[in-house]
């Protein structure tokens, strides 16, 4: 289950690009593959609106039963929205990673960061290689 209309980062975040108010906004979450590997999520920390991010920069953290894993921004820009309810309903991520499971929205300030992202087919090949 890898939606074809999204882009994917090597670090397993997905990106949905949309035009909002004359600017490109990236909605970001983590892929179903990543969530399946992170069984039993117990905590998540997300950043605040207004935070400036560069592509590849850590924007949050998620804890499964034993592991704390960093989350990385696939794009460069400013956070304009945060799904602040998500840390309180982590169990929903498993069934709804690509819509309700969004984490942050970033107003893209540098579109060159998009060039490194993969389409669904390329991302599926990466997941298959990682097992």
């Amino acid at each position: 289950m890898t939606p074809k209309d999204l882009l994917y980062a090597e670090t397993h975040e997905w990106v949905r690009i949309a035009e909002e108010g004359g600017r490109k906004v990236a909605t970001v979450g983590i892929s179903d593959f990543a969530i399946q590997q992170l069984t039993d999520l117990v905590h998540m920390v997300l950043p605040k609106v207004g935070t400036q991010l560069k592509a590849g920069q850590e924007f949050g953290e998620v804890e499964s039963v034993k592991a704390v894993s960093s989350l990385y921004s696939p794009v460069t820009g400013e956070i304009v929205a945060v799904n602040s309810d998500l840390p309180n309903k982590l169990e929903s991520l498993g069934s709804d990673p690509y819509v309700g499971g969004w984490m942050i929205k970033v107003a893209i300030s540098d579109e060159s960061s998009l060039a490194k992202l993969m389409d669904a087919a390329a991302y599926e090949r990466q997941c298959a290689a990682e097992g």
Partner: protein
Amino acid sequence: MRLRLIVDPPARGTWNMAVDEALLESAACGGPATLRFYQWSEPTLSLGYFQALADRDQHPASRSCPLVRRASGGGAILHDRELTYSIAMPLASRFGRAADSLYTRVHQSLLETLAGEGVRATLFGGTHASHGASAVAAPPLLCFQRRSAGDVVAGVQAADKIAGSAQRRQRGALLQHGSILLARSNRAPELSGIAEVAGVALSPHTLMDLWTPRLLAALGAEGADISSLSADEQKLAAGFERDRFASSEWENRR
């Protein structure tokens, strides 16, 4: 593949965590995979990354012990009569099978080692945490009172957890560290160690020497070269200790 093996003398908690962080950073930047054994210069409570500082008040026996917040997940550990290990290694994906299976591979090699000393231990077999994931019931403060799949358990009805580990995963590298309870500490008297559970007295160094060959095999290493932190890693660790693990902001972040 050969690993770098570091055997450190007992040190303060903030330094121990800073060294592990430096090894993780080093591995993420193309440095070597490292296996480290260490101990603590005085009984110390380490909190899991997401635990609240105020929750230490739930555990009066360790109230006077110094505290450090780990960068890894899981519950609080009272480090006293134990052996602590860490593994920092480059890793292609922090969500791949290799990261997930490391926990089990390391613990399996430990219980095989313990079996050779007459200690019957098994891996806890639950597929889910028996404490931890529920939003209704808060998990116990102490790691060794929690159970999740792959923990090393022993004793009557495998009721006692004698080893547990936790991970920190970042882009390109993984840190796993864990504790093996050798004997009961009077700072956490509710927890039995190997000495009480199996009647077998093991010193940290004895266990380290016995376990290392099996642990290296479990990690797919052909051997290990005894070494120490590089000068750059020393500086990195000093910075991590000063700016993170010894800072009140880090300690009070939750």
